[in-house]
Symmetry: C2
Subunit: 202 residues, 2 copies
DNA sequence: GGAACACTTCGGCCGCCGCCGAACAGTTTG
DNA sequence: CAAACTGTTCGGCGGCGGCCGAAGTGTTCC
């Protein structure tokens, strides 16, 4: 299913968890609308995508975080074998479905797990509100570039939402890549005790 | 690369980490020798397999545990979407490259991580000897069927080797599936405090 | 109503790629 | 040495599947 370049492009475009219209996905993949339609049908039949009609448009998104996780696992093979410069930035920070992944995601998670930390309280994240949601509160998502865990699930999604709302992270031209804003640097330093040297290239 | 059924069959046949000749792999995939030759060439070019000549034969094996891990991640999608009865047994115990995976692998790992356990000493596993090997001693390999970690790396390989040497586990008709022998049941009960109810079908 | 738009279905083209038969190269066995 | 065996290269066949143009359905907007 993912072996076809057009389908792969569509799925990768959806990896941020936000829905996209069929037309947008056709443009992303560089094919005509009717070709995209056939591909999207197959992806839906394979239970990888779901869609929702809205007016005359059809909005597609990944079926769930598990699909994103599997795709993550796959893309790593390519990334590690031939690593272009652009991919290095992707390794630093990217969104994986609806939460933060990459070196930054791992680092923030590690601080979150440190005994005695008060990050959630400091940020005003209400665990009670999250617990009422249907999805699991906390899920450990292994980061395939770092081989270390980062936080997913409802909490992971809530954290990323907060980072974006506060403008600590910004998306880059609609891709999955994320960059840290100046405000983000100071916020991560304050709340997560992230050293300035963390941002130095490896 | 894995989208082709013949190549997938070959790679799956190699998932136990042991090398196989080109002829054997051709039989596994159900194609002629010359077709297999072309596929194997591609897999080697893609850095997924390496080979070693021995006499007039060529023995292929996976490049490393990371390839096996990625393939594991992939196969789970299929398994979870349409689960035939045969796959259920695969979920219980299978070898992942060179270590134990599945429910059993996860359970044994959990006991190994329990504070105060003496499993390694009881089994006479020499950590010092393993530390001298080139590969990392301990690696955490996420089990995609269980979504929980199991032990990989040099220690994981040493443990599986021990299980096999002691005839606690047995391979099934050359597949990745493993079954627990009667001796294995009592051994796992003694060393890992594994309850008899563990073997009950879920 | 008609025009613009999003998506789908149909038909046919084209190219890639997996497949095999045949022939060839290197190794082992007698 | 010949015979047997493993793996490779070459050539050609065949089919699956991705691609697009054209036409059709449903929706929105004026």
């Amino acid at each position: 299913m993912l072996a076809d370049p057009s389908r792969a492009a569509m799925v990768l475009a959806l990896m941020d968890g936000r829905p996209r219209s069929a037309k947008k996905l056709a443009l992303d993949a560089g094919v005509t609308a009717q070709t995209a339609s056939a591909h999207l049908r197959k992806l839906v039949d394979a239970n990888m995508l779901v869609w929702q009609g809205q007016g005359r448009s059809k909005y597609f998104r990944l079926t769930g975080a598990d699909v994103a996780q599997a795709v993550e696992a796959l893309s790593i093979i390519d990334v590690q074998r031939a690593l272009p410069a652009a991919a290095r930035e992707l390794r630093f920070a990217r969104c994986c479905y609806d939460h933060l992944a990459g070196r930054l995601g791992v680092a923030l998670t590690e601080h979150l797990l440190r005994p005695g930390n008060t990050v959630l309280r400091d940020l005003g994240i209400e665990l009670a509100a999250l617990e009422s949601s249907r999805r699991p509160l906390f899920r450990c998502c292994t980061d395939w570039t770092e081989r270390r865990p980062h936080v997913a699930g409802a909490l992971g999604a809530a954290l990323l939402r907060r980072y974006m709302d506060e403008r600590w992270l910004a998306t880059v031209d609609g891709s999955r890549k994320l960059v840290v804003t100046p405000a983000g640097r100071s916020a991560f330093a304050r709340f997560f005790a992230l050293a300035p040297t963390f941002y130095a290239p490896d």
